[in-house]
């Protein structure tokens, strides 16, 4: 089963792992992206598009499920205001064997950084506020899957 959510509420990783139906699939891999508190960061704000963000995540999820024959996939991205340590994104992928689940996780996190309508804005303790710039390294990693 494919589960895709865009949500402002905190992601309960433990509860999502329980809800992710890995029954009988043998191998489950996970990726958890969290807010880093370095450089005095006090808030991370994620802006999204009301329709295209979830559609973009769903499109990637279906592509991954087809490519790696996944038995179950959970893809949840948080939006709105977050503080250091909070979970931004959760990927859970299950397949018969580990290689497919691990590859699907890596594909999803690489591609959602370049393909999905989400924008990060950082606020710092010294009052500075800045939109995050796209990183060449992220583009290169995403291009590996084409």
């Amino acid at each position: 089963m494919i589960r895709v959510f865009v949500q402002a509420a905190p992601i309960d990783v433990g509860a999502e792992i329980d809800l992710h139906d890995a029954g009988g699939h043998g191998a489950s891999a996970s990726f958890i992206g969290r807010v880093r508190g370095d450089a005095g960061l006090t808030e991370l704000f994620l802006e999204h598009h009301p329709a295209m963000t979830e559609a973009g995540l769903a499109s990637l999820a279906h592509a991954a499920a087809d490519r790696w024959k996944l038995g179950a996939l959970t893809l949840i991205h948080r939006v709105g205001s977050m503080t250091p340590g909070e979970t931004i994104v959760l990927v859970l992928a299950s397949s018969r064997h580990r290689a497919e689940a691990l590859a699907a996780c890596e594909y999803l996190i690489d591609r959602l950084k370049t393909d999905v309508m989400l924008w990060k804005r950082e606020s710092f303790a010294d009052g500075r506020i800045a939109w995050v710039e796209e990183r060449e390294d992220d583009r290169d990693r995403a291009a590996r899957w084409e």
Binding site: E47, H49, A51, M52, M117, L118, K120, E134, D138
Partner: protein, 85 residues
Amino acid sequence: MRIELAYFAWVRERMGTPGETVELPPAIADVAALLGWLAARDERGAATFADPHRIRAAIDGALAGPDAPLAGVREVALFPPVTGG
């Protein structure tokens, strides 16, 4: 031609609004021309769209390149490169 524009992230902040309805001259036929028209329209547009290489677009919910045509389009979203994950 009348279309809806939607702005996101620093494009929204610099334009001072999440969106607007504009009446485009017939000569503005694609995304690149739209960005040029907005940049020439006023100071906010100039500050936001002076460097069109930093802007991405989506037409009616689908990502679109600079030469994507605007004929028959309802909404154009304009935004910086995405940075989720």
